[in-house]
Amino acid sequence: MLQPLAMALRAVWLIRHEPGTPLCGSVRFSRRYPTVEKRAKIFNGVSYVPVPEDGPFLKALLFELKLLDGDKDFVGSRDSCSHINKTSIYGLPLGGEELWPVVAFLRNGLIYASVPLVEQTLSPRPPLISISGISQGLQLLFGIQDFLYLSQKNDGELNTKLSQLPDLLLQACPFGTLLNANIQNLLDNSNFAPVTQPQKQPAWKAGTYKGKPQVSISIAEKVKSMQYDKQDVADTWQVVGAVTCKCDLEGIMTNVTISLSLPTNGSPLQDILVHPCVTSLDSAMLTSSSIDAVDDSAFSGPYKFPFTPPSESFNLCYYTSQVPVPPILGFYQMKEEEVQLKIAVNLKLHESVKNNFEFCEAHIPFYNRGPITHLEYKVSFGQLEVFREKGLLVWIIGQKFPKSMEISLSGTVTFGAKSHDKQPFDQICIGGTAYVKLHFRILDYTLTGCYADQHSVQVFGSGKPKISTHQKLISSDYYIWNSKAPAPVTYGSLFL
């Protein structure tokens, strides 16, 4: 048999999830590819199920994603224990038949969906991994998502972008076969479409830059942590870094090499993922992984990234790192005493960390309880803001920790009667399970110490560019759990 490999999509949808409305959603955009549909009919044979109209598709998809209102009653076809889905690929029941595979996910209230072509019969179902259209379909949806949510602030902007989508998709995917998933890039470049396309011009780079050569490199690290203050559970923390570059250089195929360096005793970078424009990668960088225990022999740079830059700003690489201590170590003790909660929070900034925050706050939410009716507290530093209805305390620590580097808060909180619509259910914070979440940002600083040395940036075949570098550290999912009650643990916490 001729196994065709066209890797095409039969249709694409964008659906807005609108809970509370009669249909619970509306189709905001859809595009069908009739030439691909024609092939689907031939290849799928008797197992062919046509791409449905928007209405039935919407209904079936929302049902399958459990996004229809009213999960009051048990519905076997949705809630059965054997109806297990472990991927973003679904089969939708439609008039006695099943449309499969439907690639779909929900992000920021929008459902992104597409149906890739499967170039064989569908019964029995071929393994997902053998269908090239699955990753192509997902990639297109990611591209659309990036385009819609990049610097988008309100509904008006979303509508503008949705109105641009048909034209952009005509370029990115004219016949259902994806040519370029970088939709944003297509828009940016549509302004200066090149008249000639010289040889060796990468398809991901339209046009050339004219002007002063400059290279900008930003390293943004996020630090996550789970702290328990318990004997049998280890605290965990992890740094996740993203290096963003913008290279304004003349010439089409200018080669650039950027090196990231660490100070002596810096924590090695691990789990390095690079942008596809990186031309080669040292094997030490390819294998360095957080899965292994860190030892002294681990590769610690410099990390060289040779590449040909695209025109737009792009993420050169992502990495993770395991620093020896968390930047802020704390404990949280919360106890229910009759009608009130007694709380105590203690935070300590590690001495090695730059004590100069853009901001630093500790959020102390109280879930599955009523509004705060009464509060008595003492803070050793900073101020406390109370959001009574939301059941939230915000401890504003400010720009600097005091000289002692250690601060504390203690108090008692009383709650009113619970009303379900105002204090939403939280599935983790049940009973005494509770957390303090830290939010902070430090500019011109990375926790790993990772930096891009201006002198190490090599640009071949172009004048000496102006090079600017930026760094910042941001908290992300930085939790300190109540040590007086059970807390969700990860496997790592038990084995470290």
């Binding site: 092939r39 999960d71 059965s80 997902l138 990611f142 970088n182 060796k200 599935q427 983790i428």
Partner: protein, 852 residues
């Protein structure tokens, strides 16, 4: 938009495109409509051909200045040709479009309408994409242009569209040539092109035969019989081919990641199976690809892994690939759907040395506990990620069973704690149903992966019972869970749950759930507690639904064998229940229990047949009547057969002839179609049948969902003169293909020819055509037609020529031209708009001679 409206719109659209008053922007919008709905706008072949021609006319008549219309016009013309099924050597529009596209793609001057050459450049890429789409739909179409494409790739021109086009057509040509046994001679020689001469359709016509439904195939590298095995290129040809592939791979970096992935899949599948073509060509690309996090690229690497196995991936490479996959499956910088896909890839990893059966999810051999541990689930994960990781954890547990016995924190203990955490969340009042669903899905996954491991099953059973105690409203989930799991978990869980329900005082709010639960778990033994619970519950059952729930438990107990206590309870219920319907039921159950022995009781309670009767409250009026409710299984005292074909109304109708061997009353015949080929069939009822007395024929209307023959299962339910109700399965009936035939309305005199030709022409864009030799017996064509096809003849010139049109419900047709009959047979040209009908029609025609 379908139907006549669409066609009107199609006409308007084409004329609007020529309207000089409309702006370019409007016309672009019109064209985008034609890109999405060409088959609604131009539904048949001739309309599509005309539309494509018209679009091409608009294109060449554009004034020689830049215009936004050229690109969408090319795309639209391509779409229309494909969806209309017109693409082919006989289509004028195809023969205009193809050279134009190839000219544009190769950067040649194609004429005034496209302005100076410099302005044709931007269209190069579009032309390549159009050609690629046409090649996808008609493999081999560009077989004659491979040399040209390759030389273009070496010169100038957009690298991505040319690379993809060349890779696709190279692959198609190789496959088709290997089928036909031809050599690669000249395939890749540059300079050979169809640019000037007529288009070469040879390969495309051979390729068309192969574009048919495919069996699932993700071939392992060990499997033989892949498409290219027959092709053994000569050393020069192999060198040439390798050079072309290397050229494509070298430039692949310049393609967008999604296009790189497409190229790798194509080239991988091209080289795979070609003898003497080592896949080492791909090796230089792998390190670069493995460094990225691009979903499409890693997926393509996995495809290469599946295609070449250890010929491309050493054990170390395989380990590295797994490591990168594991890393990507959890990298904090990647989105959830990507994580999920990589987790899936891990569970379906194409191994170098597969051990287990294919298609079964398993952890890869080289995925050791260390790698696995980084993918462990936690309560903080999204439900889908949690389930995927839980699956891995189960596999890890299964492997580590023997080890780590003394260890405090084994994966087993972690698994147990995780399940306990899930149950705790599901147990909280007011928590969303999704959490309960997740908890039961996780329990089910564990139960199915670790079946037989008491270490995990015992705490699971007790945990679930505890969950039920905390939140009885989860009863439907538990009932569903019990339905799905095997007896080794189900049976002990049932006992614990029964204990859980009956050992607690009856409380109003949860009674509904307790009764639902008991109906599932109540069993013959340990009845005393159950009965006293039910007795206590009866006083709380104040509304109809609760009483029904209570009675359902009684029914379940009845089915499990009843017992003395139950008789007493039913008697009490028959007196005490407020609702008359409830009392009736209780009395009926009591009667059944008191009067029937075990086996008969079982038959009487068979839910499929007895349930409707049991619901009747009339029965209670006459207690002696209960015996008539027993349904007896008997051999059939009737014979049923399919009678002569008859045409009646707009649906095919099966004429049935029935004969009774003994007198029967109130016969109901129930029919079921195997395989859901037809819509459910209604029952046929006959009040009285007597042997020897001729019975009227019965008519069974069929509502086919597909035009296909089928078997009907038949069951009869009837009463005997003694008043017993009997049930008998009858031998299945066959519905033949010809039983589905319906005539077209007879066209008025004089226009038969036109009518038939119109039907004939309308078949082809979508359907299929064939020729069959229909052998004729001694009776000749005329008799054959009059016997079998008379009602469908549209035009007849006896004794040699007949035009026959047959409607095939639900929505297809079959047309036959029987022309120039000879003594021993007649050539039949047949067309249909539904290709699936073709083999059936062929069999039917060939079989005609044997039948009367």
């Amino acid at each position: 938009m379908a139907g006549a409206d669409g066609e009107d719109l199609g006409r308007d659209l084409l004329s609007d495109l020529r309207n000089e008053k409309l702006t370019e922007q409007t016309k672009v919008s019109l064209l985008s409509l034609s890109l999405e709905y060409p088959s609604e706008l131009w539904p048949d072949a001739s309309a599509a051909e005309a539309a494509a021609t018209s679009l091409l006319d608009v294109l060449v008549l554009l004034p020689p200045r830049p215009s936004a219309l050229r690109k969408p016009l090319l795309l639209a013309a391509t779409s229309v040709l494909v969806t209309g099924g017109v693409l082919g050597s006989t289509s004028g529009a195809s023969c205009r479009l193809l050279p134009l596209l190839l000219g544009l793609a190769s950067g040649r001057d194609v004429g005034r309408g496209f302005g100076p050459i410099s302005e044709q450049r931007p269209l190069q890429a579009t032309a390549c994409e159009c050609l690629r789409e046409l090649e996808s739909c008609k493999p081999g179409l560009l077989g004659g242009s491979l040399g040209l494409l390759r030389s273009l790739l070496g010169q100038e021109g957009p690298i991505q569209p040319l690379s993809l086009l060349l890779a696709l057509s190279l692959r198609d040509s190789l496959v088709i040539q290997s089928r036909s046994g031809a050599s690669l001679q000249g395939l890749l020689v540059s300079g050979f092109s169809t640019g000037s001469g007529p288009w070469d359709w040879t390969l495309a016509e051979e390729g068309a035969a192969h574009l048919i439904p495919q069996a699932p195939s993700w071939p392992t590298p060990y499997e033989g019989g892949c498409g290219l095995a027959a092709l053994e290129p000569s050393p020069e040809e192999a060198r040439e081919l390798r050079a072309a592939v290397a050229q494509l791979l070298d430039a692949s970096y310049l393609l967008t990641p999604v296009a790189q992935a497409q190229l790798l899949w194509l080239l991988g599948w091209t080289l795979r199976g070609l003898r003497g073509q080592p896949p080492a060509l791909f090796k230089p690309q792998l390190a670069r690809l493995l460094g990225t996090a691009q979903l499409t690229l890693l997926h393509a690497v996995l495809a290469l892994k599946a295609a070449f196995g250890e010929a491309l991936f050493t054990a170390q490479d395989e380990a590295l690939l797994l490591r990168r996959l594991t890393l990507a499956a959890q990298h904090p910088s990647l989105p959830l759907p990507t994580h999920l896909f990589y987790l899936h890839c891990l569970l379906s990893f194409p191994e170098n040395w597969p051990l287990g059966p294919e298609g079964e999810e398993a952890a890869p051999l080289l995925l050791g506990p260390q790698l696995c541990r980084s993918l462990m689930p936690s309560l903080l994960h999204d439900p889908m990620a949690l389930l995927a990781r839980l699956h891995l954890l189960c596999l890890l547990c299964a492997e580590e069973e023997e080890e780590d016995k003394g260890q405090l924190q084994s994966p087993w203990q972690y698994l147990e704690e995780l399940l306990a955490g899930l149950r705790q969340r599901a147990a909280v009042g007011g928590s969303p149903r999704a959490l309960a669903t997740l908890c039961f899905q996780a329990s089910y996954l564990v139960a199915s992966c670790l079946a037989g491991k008491t270490k995990v099953l015992t705490p699971l059973i007790h945990g679930l019972a505890q969950l039920y105690r905390a939140r009885p409203m989860l009863a439907p989930h538990l009932v569903d869970f019990l339905d799905k799991v095997g007896p080794e978990l189900g049976e002990p869980l049932k006992r614990v749950l029964q204990q859980e329900v009956v050992s607690r005082p009856v409380r109003n709010e949860a009674l509904r759930w307790h009764l639902q639960m008991l109906a599932k778990v109540a069993e013959g033994d340990a009845q005393t507690a159950t009965l006293s619970f039910l007795q206590a519950a009866a006083t709380h059952c104040i509304d109809w639904s609760l009483q029904q729930a209570l009675l359902r438990v009684c029914l379940a107990l009845l089915q499990a064998g009843g017992g003395n206590g139950l008789t007493d309870l039913l008697q009490v219920l028959a007196r005490q229940l407020e609702d008359p319907d409830g009392r009736d039921h209780a009395r009926l159950y009591y009667i059944l229990l008191a009067h029937l022995a075990g086996p008969k009781l079982g038959i009487a309670l068979d839910p499929s047949l007895a349930a409707p009767a049991l619901a009747s409250s009339l029965v209670a009026e006459n207690q002696g009547f209960a015996v008539t409710l027993m349904v007896q299984e008997t051999p059939a005292p009737i014979q049923l057969s399919v009678g002569p074909r008859m045409l009646k109304g707009s649906l095919p109708v099966l004429q049935l002839q029935i004969e009774a061997l003994e007198p029967i009353y109130s016969l109901e015949l129930r029919f079921r179609v195997e395989g859901q080929l037809y819509a459910p069939l209604g029952a046929i009822r006959v009040p009285y049948l007597c042997p020897g007395r001729p019975a009227h024929p019965l008519f069974l209307p069929l509502k086919p969902r597909r035009s296909a023959p089928a078997h009907l299962e038949v069951q009869a339910l009837y009463s005997t003169p003694a008043g017993l109700t009997c049930h008998a399965p009858l031998p299945p009936l066959s519905v033949n293909f010809e039983d589905l035939f319906l005539p077209f309305p007879q066209p008025p005199d004089g226009v038969e020819q036109g009518f038939f030709e119109k039907l004939w022409d309308s078949c082809l864009p979508k359907g299929a055509e064939s020729r069959v030799w229909c052998p004729l017996g001694p009776q000749g064509l005329e008799t054959l037609v009059s016997h079998h096809l008379e009602p469908f003849v549209i035009m007849a010139q006896p004794p040699t020529n007949y035009h026959i049109a047959i409607r095939l419900p639900p929505s297809s047709m079959l047309l036959l031209r029987l022309e120039a009959a000879q003594v021993d047979g007649v050539p039949v040209a047949l067309r249909t708009d539904d290709w699936a009908v073709l083999p059936l029609a062929g069999d039917y025609l060939r079989g005609l001679v044997g039948t009367k």
